[in-house]
Every structure is written in C-alpha cells, then in structure tokens.
C-alpha cells in the first residue's frame, strides 16, 4: 500500500524518531510504513492522518484493480 507519510513528515521537518514518539511506535515501524514494508492498523493510519491534518485516503493509497 503506497502512502505519503515520508513526504508529509519531511514537509513538517520531522525525523522518523520524532514522528515515532508522536505516534507511540518505534522508529523502525515508521520506516517500515514509509517504505511500504508494513501496512499500519486502521487505528494507527487514522492517527497518522489526523497528525498531518489529512484524511486517511489522502495519506494512504490502496491500489484497486
């Protein structure tokens, strides 16, 4: 699942570690989400979207057939 977490984080001048603290997850988890290796739970996806003041659909992009 593609997402814009990295772009949004960088535009906000945040490090992965800072975003991880804000979300209550590990830095490795933020990295895994940004690189598409891990799809976050619905709860974490909503929290990320709210943190960046976006909707979930604006942050996460599900490629449908």
């Amino acid at each position: 699942m593609r997402n814009d977490v990295r772009a949004l984080r960088l535009s906000g001048g945040l490090s992965q570690a800072e975003l991880a603290v804000a979300m209550g997850v590990s830095r490795q988890t933020v990295n895994a989400i940004e690189t598409g290796r891990y799809s976050p739970s619905l709860t974490l996806a909503v929290r990320l979207a709210r943190y960046f003041e976006r909707t979930v659909e604006e942050v996460f992009h599900v490629d449908c057939d």
């Binding site: 209550g24 997850v25 590990s26 490795q28 988890t29 895994a32 976050p40 739970s41 709860t43 974490l44």
Partner: protein, 131 residues
Amino acid sequence: MSTATDGVRGRWGVPLTGVVVGAAMCVASGLNGRWGLGLAMLAIMVAYGALLLVFGGREPVAMLAREDGDERQRAIQARASHISFNLVAVFVVGGFVVDLARGGDGMPWAVIAAVGGAAYIATVAVLSRRG
C-alpha cells in the same frame, strides 16, 4: 504511560528470568550429580541474557528481550510464534513416527503433541469467541 520502572522491567525481565531458569536447571541437574551439565546450561542462559542486554539496542534483539512493543512488533512476534509452533509440530510428529518405526511407544512425543494440539484447539476456541 510508561515509567522508569517499566523500562527497567522491560530490559531486565527476560534476561533475569533466563538466569533464574538456568539456575533452576543447574540445581536440578546437580541434584543428580551432574553439576558439569548443570553449570553448562546455566552458562548458556547467562550468555543469552548478556546477549540481550549488550545488543538490546538492535530491534530484533530488543524484541527478544521484551514482550511488549508497538503493533508491528507484536505482529512480528505473533508471526514468529506461529512459524516456530509449526516447526516444533513438524519436529514432534517426525519424532513420534521415527520412534514408532524403531519399535518404541511414541513417548514422550505423543504427550508433547497432545499438549500442543489441545492448547491450539483451546486457543482457537477462546480467541474466536473474543472476535
């Protein structure tokens, strides 16, 4: 909310538990006069605990040393447990078959398989009720 106490317990909990288990194995083995074997098992558990403490900054090692973690780490733990359970199940069934082929009665493989199977069935039943 995490506290300093949680952090200490999280970092030292598993290593100290390992040392305690190693000490118990050492005493149990020593009571049968096999202190060499007991001390070797204790040394293995102490070395494992030290490994967790020294390399605890690396994520895989930190995950071995703690039972909590974020959602991704818990998912990894669950998948690792699932894969480990399947490998042990294959090993136990294989041991049971080989023991039967050698003329044995399949013990203790059958008991281990029964406990594992019963635990799996009970876990599925409980978790499915919880949704």
